[in-house]
């Protein structure tokens, strides 16, 4: 009995030609339809794919991993260009066609509910980076007090410097909270993820915010204005805001337990 690799779910789409190639170990992508929903899958043909050998391929063969991760993403993105899409996590394999059909029945109401909630919406990524040497000079060190003796002003300057550092830190906290509030208010949904480490992300600064938002397509112009404002507000504090997208709604498809 063949296993199936499950990419994503949408409403049933016209045409089912099996033209797009699936992941390396599987056949072309096609739909398995059930009532008003449709699973985009491909049949696994090359031997058995299990947790161990998939993990090994991902960890040991970087060319394989890159090619297949991006293909998984592109298959989902191309469905997303035609319809609302629910991306499945990479490596979702169902053990038989019968089980897949059972799964569609079991999750039917949840999938329908999610498709409705995600209709006409896009995911965007917002990352904020910090670089201390880009803090605007208006927040820089205090000037010397000429009347004080050298020894006295040493202590005071040190204290003032610490005070300035503290103030900058507080101000950054304040600005970031304000930015997050704006994002929460102007989008349908907002999630904060763990920032990617510097060695993965080639940016000059250090990533301090890694977030994703869900935006209604009709609200995109307003959203883009909000992002521009956040970029402008944060810049003097050495904070750089980067936007990426649109993404399929990877961050907004959490499923409840059956």
């Amino acid at each position: 009995m063949n296993k199936y690799y499950f990419y994503c779910l949408s409403h049933p789409l016209a045409g089912n030609e099996k033209t797009a190639p699936g992941l390396d170990f599987s056949g072309p992508v096609f739909q398995i339809k059930y009532k008003g929903i449709s699973a985009h899958v491909s049949e696994i043909k090359d031997g058995d794919i299990n947790r161990e050998n998939l993990k090994e391929l991902l960890e040991k063969d970087s060319d394989w991993a890159k090619r297949n991760i991006l293909r998984h993403h592109r298959i989902i993105a191309s469905v997303g260009q035609k319809d609302t899409v629910i991306p499945m996590k990479f490596g979702t394999v169902i053990s038989s066609r019968k089980n897949l059909e059972q799964l569609l029945r079991d999750y039917y109401h949840q999938f329908k509910k999610l498709l409705k909630a995600l209709k006409d919406r896009q995911e965007w990524g917002i990352k904020i980076y910090f670089e201390s040497d880009r803090i605007s000079s208006s927040f820089s060190r205090p000037k010397k007090d000429k009347k004080k003796s050298i020894g006295e002003s040493w202590y005071e300057e040190k204290m003032k410097n610490e005070e300035t550092e503290r103030k900058i830190e507080q101000e950054i906290e304040k600005q970031l909270s304000a930015a997050i509030e704006t994002l929460k208010d102007s989008t349908d949904n907002f999630v904060l993820n763990i920032p990617l480490p510097k060695r993965l992300d080639k940016h000059r600064g250090e990533m301090i915010i890694n977030s994703s938002v869900l935006v209604k397509k009709e609200s995109l112009p307003d959203f883009s204005e909000k992002i521009k404002k956040i970029q402008k507000d944060l810049e003097p504090f050495g904070l750089e805001t980067e936007l990426s997208g649109p993404w399929p709604p990877y961050n907004f498809v959490s499923m409840e337990k059956k």
């Binding site: 299990n50 979702t92 993404w247 990877y250």
Partner: protein
């Protein structure tokens, strides 16, 4: 639609966003219970991502760097050693005793600067705790300012223009 596709293409030409895509594809997405044969959630995203990002950047010779993290580390260390080697030969070049002197002077001055910095922090801590009288605090202050002026002077004497610091490789800068 066309614009979206172009943008998507553009996204994946950048390493940072490749990491972002991996983050999403591996870590996020709907996770269904029941009859799912595999879940790769336990794969170390950091290691995987590092392999992919590095593997996608060909090195200067045009070869693809091997996916092993150790090899990447070794290559980086080799690069640093080559830089240091160049500097050592400059430092001990008998043709130019002035340069030797400057190199050693920089090393010594950096250590003095480091020790001063540590002592200064300790002094601040004591003053803030109220453990030091006002006069003593002033004395400490004058001493530190004097040391720093002296360091500046010595830097000028030896013609050292850059900041005093030592690159400790993977450990970062000394000060």
């Amino acid at each position: 639609m066309m614009i979206d596709r172009n943008r998507e293409q553009k996204l994946f030409n950048r390493h940072a966003t490749l990491a972002e895509a991996i983050d999403r594809v591996i870590e996020k997405g709907a996770s269904i219970q029941g009859d799912v044969a595999i879940s790769v959630a336990e794969i170390d995203l950091i290691i995987l991502g590092l392999h992919l990002v590095i593997a996608s950047a060909p090195d200067k010779a045009g070869n693809k760097i091997s996916s092993s993290e150790d090899k990447i580390y070794i290559r980086e260390m080799e690069r640093r050693i080559r830089i240091m080697e160049k500097n050592i030969s400059r430092l001990v070049s008998s043709d130019d005793p002035q340069k030797v002197e400057k190199g050693i002077a920089k090393l010594v001055l950096t250590l003095v600067a480091l020790i001063t910095d540590l002592m200064e922090r300790e002094a601040m801590r004591k003053i803030n705790r109220g453990a030091v009288s006002k006069t003593k605090a002033e004395k400490l202050g004058v001493t530190f300012v004097a040391i720093k002026k002296k360091l500046e002077e010595m830097k000028n004497v030896f013609g050292i223009k850059e900041d005093l610091n030592i690159d400790l490789g993977p450990l970062g800068q000394l000060i």
